[in-house]
């Protein structure tokens, strides 16, 4: 009987969470689509983010799939797998951003040099 109550309560809690998550995903997909349409992101980035949000959608609707993946990888819970993958991805994206920023800085210096040397 307690188990029954608990599972009803869990469904009650997770259901709105899933609704919120799906609402956010619809918003996320729409942003990716709009940015691609106006040309702010290229084809590669568009496909990358669509893939990312699809994976999130799958994880939200079918959490049991993440558990299966976790078992295959030898990690405890599906949530943990998602977290580990997210952290690695974030590290990589951050590294890429840092490299891009450094490159921008060097390009600005090159421009500054041309301006400085062209003044007479």
């Amino acid at each position: 009987m307690t188990l029954g109550v608990i599972s009803i309560v869990m469904n009650f809690i997770t259901f709105p969470l899933q609704v919120i998550a799906i609402a956010f995903l619809i918003f996320a997909f729409s942003r990716v689509w709009l940015r691609a349409r106006e040309g702010s992101i290229g084809r590669g980035m568009f496909l990358f983010w669509i893939l990312v949000w699809m994976l999130v959608l799958v994880a939200v609707i079918r959490p049991d799939l993440t558990t299966q993946l976790a078992k295959k990888l030898g990690i405890g819970r599906g949530v943990d797998v998602v977290l580990y993958i997210s952290i690695v991805t974030l590290f990589y994206l951050n590294f890429r951003s840092n490299v891009m920023i450094e490159n921008l800085r060097h390009e600005i210096t090159r421009l500054t040099r041309v301006i400085a040397l062209s003044k007479k």
């Binding site: 490299v99 060097h106 600005i108 500054t112 040099r113 400085a116 040397l117």
Partner: protein, 225 residues
Amino acid sequence: MGKLLVIVPAFNEASVIGKTIKGIRHSLKDAEILVVNDGSSDTTVVEAKKAGAIVVSHPINRGLGGALGTGLYWAKERDIDYVTTFDADGQHDPDDILKVLKPILSGNADVVIGTRTKSGWNEIPWDRKIVLTLSNWLTWWLFGIKTTDSTSGLRAFNRKAIENIQIKTDQMEVSNEFFYEIKRCKLRLKEVPIKVMYTDYSRSKGQKNSNAFSVGVKLLLRLFR
């Protein structure tokens, strides 16, 4: 002797630049002095011109590497035979310029670094000693060059070095980058002991110890560019 250019990178050094330039002029009557004004917001340009230097101005501040890169490029475009870099803040003794030029003029070296740690080790503040030692080690580990002063601002170059060295870093890490370029271009390096004069002013203008980590990371990235 061929044409000598003294490059003085300067960012907001109005209070000392005049004295520094006059000091250089006093030691070297015939040298051209180029002040690279790195986006100063004070009267550095006015003071430098008053003291008789040629001034090239960056519209915005880029950092030491950016300024030295501009100075070297300026020298490359003209018939300059020898270049010396000299700090604007009064840390260096102008009489040391001829000292660092000697191995170059006698044909024994392409690049000379004035090292502060040989004769002036005791004058260096203890916290700088630690950072300098780490920086020397990093220069050896990343670039394979042993040096006793990887962050020295007093350097001399001959024409071969001027033409081959490419400065790609922007800020304080340029001091270490020079060693990478020396290795890459197979230039002959010699070190000459020089005097160091630490004042509260020059310490406030120099490398901050807290910068050390980011300098290291930027140098690592430079290896891949």
